[in-house]
């Protein structure tokens, strides 16, 4: 695994801003968001990685920081990789991975639904759980809403 990490760091250079090996078979990379798709493709296709299983793709929002992370698993080497990147809260745009991993299609729709992350290149980016006319992204830490008074409509965001 050590060689594979070195090759990845060499391949992407400055795009990987931080990394740490948390256990013998798990490594975390913090990358800049414009290399999101390239890193995922590299991890999937490189023979030293072969991360063929997208275990998780979701958002984290601490109130200050806002970003997405991707957890991959390799069924060949039994390695885990966590790829993190931070996004701007005002305009969270990131490349879609739905072409690489068809399984994350609905994950990305849910992330758009709840957090408003816009996935560039997603085949069908619209709300998946909430009603189509819902306003706001309710899982964000800065989401504040008040009841709309109409039981058939969701609450209205205040800010």
């Amino acid at each position: 695994m050590k060689e594979a990490i070195e090759n990845l760091l060499q391949h992407f250079g400055e795009a990987v801003t931080a990394w740490s090996q948390v256990s013998p078979d798990e490594v975390r990379f913090t990358i800049c968001p414009d290399k999101w798709q390239e890193v995922a493709q590299y991890l999937r296709d490189d023979p030293q990685w072969q991360m063929d299983y997208p275990a998780d793709l979701t958002v984290w929002d601490t109130g200050q920081e806002f970003g997405v992370y991707l957890r991959l698993w390799s069924s060949v080497y039994n390695h885990n990789v966590l790829v993190l990147t931070t996004l701007s809260r005002e305009r969270p745009v990131i490349a879609s991975l739905a072409q690489l991993y068809p399984g994350v299609n609905w994950h990305e729709r849910e992330m758009y639904d709840m957090y408003g992350v816009i996935f560039d290149g997603h085949p069908n980016l619209k709300r998946i759980l909430l009603p189509d006319d819902w306003e706001g992204f309710p899982f964000r830490k800065d989401y504040v809403a008040e009841p709309s008074g109409d039981p058939l409509r969701g609450p209205q965001p205040v800010n």
Partner: protein
């Protein structure tokens, strides 16, 4: 007692015969209350109890009640479970598609008032926010006996409603029937 007076009380059977004499309106009320067809409407865990109520152990068929998969053949809608904001317009539409006279039973805490999800932004705080409810059955979920009690009370009401109309009395105000929680959890 003459036939007319006896007819005021509803159905009479001719002694020794197989003939029933009744007013058409009485017969209609009797038939209506005895064959309440319900709209299949399981939304969450209360639906399990509703299915148990319909299955062989409790057997809703005894009361002439069974489930239809279309609102056009249904008389009563049992809303069993929580109602999300996304689901509510469809419930309203299904209710509007049911032919009159129609009744609604809110089964369980969620359909009655939102239940444990009352503070959630996506859950409607009771189905009575957008359709008129006739019977509230409390419980989380209610036991099948409680649901049956609610249905029996609703049948009584259908009967009374009709009798009041027949006797020229004002139609009773339709206060909702409330079935309290009983049994092991009540």
């Amino acid at each position: 007692m003459g036939v007319k007076e006896r007819l005021e009380k509803g159905l009479i059977k001719v002694p020794g015969g197989t003939i029933l004499i009744a007013k058409i309106s009485d017969l209609m009320a009797w038939a209506r209350k005895s064959s309440l067809w319900s709209l299949t409407f399981g939304l969450s865990c209360c639906a399990i109890e509703m299915m148990a109520t319909a299955a062989s152990r409790y057997d809703l068929d005894r009361f002439g009640m069974f489930f239809r998969a279309t609102p056009r053949q249904a008389d009563v809608m049992i809303v069993a479970g929580w109602v999300s904001v996304k689901m509510a317009p469809f419930i309203k539409r299904l209710y509007e598609q049911m032919p009159e006279p129609k009744y609604v039973i809110a089964m369980g805490g969620c359909a009655s008032a939102g239940g444990p999800y009352r503070d959630s932004i996506t859950i409607v705080k009771g189905v009575d926010q957008f359709v008129p409810v006739d019977v509230y059955v409390y419980g989380c979920p209610p036991r099948p006996e409680n649901l049956i009690l609610g249905i029996l009370k609703l049948q009584e009401r259908i009967r009374e409603e009709h009798l009041a109309e027949k006797n020229g009395l004002p139609k009773p105000v339709r206060e909702p029937i409330i079935i309290p929680e009983t049994g092991a959890t009540g």
